[in-house]
Structures are given as C-alpha cells and as structure tokens.
C-alpha cells in the first residue's frame, strides 16, 4: 500500500479520477471522499489527508461494494498506474461520444499517455485486455510497430486480437 504525504496529494488528480479512497493518517478511510463526476458532493473532513489511493474498476458508488478494508493492506498502485488510470478516466469521459478518431487520439489525456512511453505500454495492454478501448494509435506511436493487417483496419475485435498476439509474442 503506497502512502502519499499530504503535501504530495494532488487533489486535481483525485477529483478527475475515479474510485479514489482517501485515508486519514490513522488509516481510517474517509470515503467516499471524492466523486469523479461531481454527481455526489465530496464529503468534507477536518482530517488532513494522508493519502492512499485505491482505484478499482467499478462505477463510482456512494456505497462501494468493495470496502477498503476488504482490499487488505498491501494493496496499492504505483504513481505511474495512478497517473495512467487518471488520464484514462479523463480521456474516456471526454471522448467516448466521439467518432472522430483524430480527435479521440489527439485528446490531451491520450497524448499524455503516449508521452509516458514504454512505462505506459503494459498498462495500455492490460487496459485493452480487460476493457478494450481505442488504444491502437497509442500502441503504434509508442512501439513504432503495427501488427494489424491492412485488411483488418477498423475491425476492432481483430485489431485488438492482433495487438494482444503481438504482446504475447513479446512476453508483455
């Protein structure tokens, strides 16, 4: 479990991300502290946050089905993972309704993920495996490779399969 001193707590990241639990210095979860969408008011607390981030893949809920204690101590994510998940959430929220691939891929959050370079590669591949998503621009930009045959352009399930095979061949 990774703890971040309050001084390093980037509230803007937390507010734009999803499913982030904020803990007090004593380890008590002040949760749900932040809603990613602003649909529910942030719960105010006088406790100066010693922050431990937990992110999981469920829609934000005022009554999370996986309370913090059930995740157990020792569960945590790296700063790179946190940054990636935050950017993914921001990108999806801003672009899921769009069809314009150029616009989807040029979104600042997506470009920041590309800018993370090889650090982002395993995270992108895992995201693609678990949840899909339009990661083909990023994968091509980061790796300089493109395993998708010309005949499969736009065939999303086949594009996904080609990239996951590419990853498997490289042990990623």
């Amino acid at each position: 479990m990774r703890r971040y001193p309050a001084a390093e707590f980037d509230k803007s990241l937390a507010l734009s991300s999803k499913n982030i639990l904020v803990y007090s210095p004593s380890g008590r979860a002040i949760t749900p502290a932040y809603s990613p969408t602003g649909e529910a008011p942030a719960r105010k607390s006088s406790v100066v946050p010693m922050v431990i981030y937990h992110i999981w893949d469920e829609p934000w809920s005022p009554f999370p089905s996986k309370p913090a204690k059930s995740l157990g101590r020792g569960f945590g994510i790296s700063h790179t993972q946190l940054r990636f998940q935050t950017l993914v959430a921001e990108w999806k929220e801003a672009t899921d309704h769009l069809s314009a691939t150029d616009e989807i891929a040029m979104h600042p959050a997506y470009q920041q993920i590309i800018g993370m370079g090889s650090d982002a590669l395993p995270l992108i591949l895992e995201e693609l495996r678990q949840r899909g998503g339009y990661w083909y621009w990023a994968l091509k930009a980061i790796t300089g490779d493109d395993p998708v045959p010309e005949t499969d352009r736009g065939k999303v399930p086949l594009m996904k399969k080609a990239w996951l095979k590419w990853a498997e061949d490289r042990g990623l």
């Binding site: 899921d96 309704h97 069809s99 314009a100 691939t101 621009w137 594009m159």
Partner: protein
C-alpha cells in the same frame, strides 16, 4: 444513472426531444459513420494513422468532400433536405467548423437514428445535437432502397 439520463446530460438537446430513445447497448466496434452506412462491423474514419476503415480510393482527409465520396461508394448521392422520400434511404452528415463529426440515418419523417461514438445507438430529431460537439447537419444524401 440510466443510459437515458447520462446521454441527456451529455447532449442537453435530447432532454426535450420527443423521439429520443436508446435503441442499443454501448458498442465500441463501430461508430456513427459506419452505422449510417449500415455497417456495424467496422469503425469508419479517415484517420491520419490509417488505423480505421475507409473505402478504397477515397482520400483519407477529414473534410466533407471525403465523407461525401465515402458514402457515394455505397450509392448515396447528395440531396437537398432532410424530408423523407418514398423509395429512398436518407442520411445526414453533421459537421463542426467544416469537419465532419457525426452521421445519422432517417427512420421516418422527422425521426433519425444514430450511434453516439463508442456509446449507444439512439433515435432523435435532426436538431437534437445542436450546440454539442457534433455541430449541425450540413449534408444530406440519399440512395434508392
């Protein structure tokens, strides 16, 4: 939040649209351009990286001309307005700042259907997306049924 509520928040014009219905679940395998072309198996876009499907021989440029040419490969020709015409399928291409953003298919007079990016298919009025990222309908095309 239901899909209807989420989409009304995203496109406020849907809130007052009498024809608004969600007609499919989310699907990231195809987009609005493909849907209007009756192709639910591919993501159509003339993207710069050449990742998506775009008809052979049509320039991969993000402009109205390229989209008109793409639909022309399916037999669509430019027409004057959104009104239903017996014996024809009609589509509308939406653009913002001269750049196509969306396409819709006419179901019956006044009622259109389209796919919202990676999200759901919906039915709606022609102007339900006014003020959104989609811009407005700038080109109508038709082809014989």
């Amino acid at each position: 939040m239901s899909a209807e509520e989420r989409l009304k928040k995203l496109f406020p014009g849907l809130a007052s649209c009498p024809f608004f219905r969600v007609t499919s679940p989310k699907d990231e395998d195809y987009n609005c351009i493909a849907f209007a072309a009756a192709d639910e198996g591919q993501w159509w876009w003339p993207d710069r990286q050449g990742q998506d499907y775009w008809p052979d021989g049509v320039p991969r440029t993000w402009d109205i001309e390229s989209f008109e040419m793409a639909y022309a490969t399916l037999g669509f020709t430019r027409c004057h307005g959104p009104e239903a015409e017996d014996g024809y399928i009609k589509i509308a291409i939406y653009a913002k700042g001269g750049k196509p953003q969306h396409a819709a298919l006419l179901v019956q007079d006044g009622v259109w259907t389209s796919k919202l990016g990676k999200l759901e298919d919906v039915s709606h009025s022609l102007n339900a997306f006014d003020g959104s990222d989609y811009g407005e309908a700038v080109l109508f095309m038709k082809k014989p049924v």
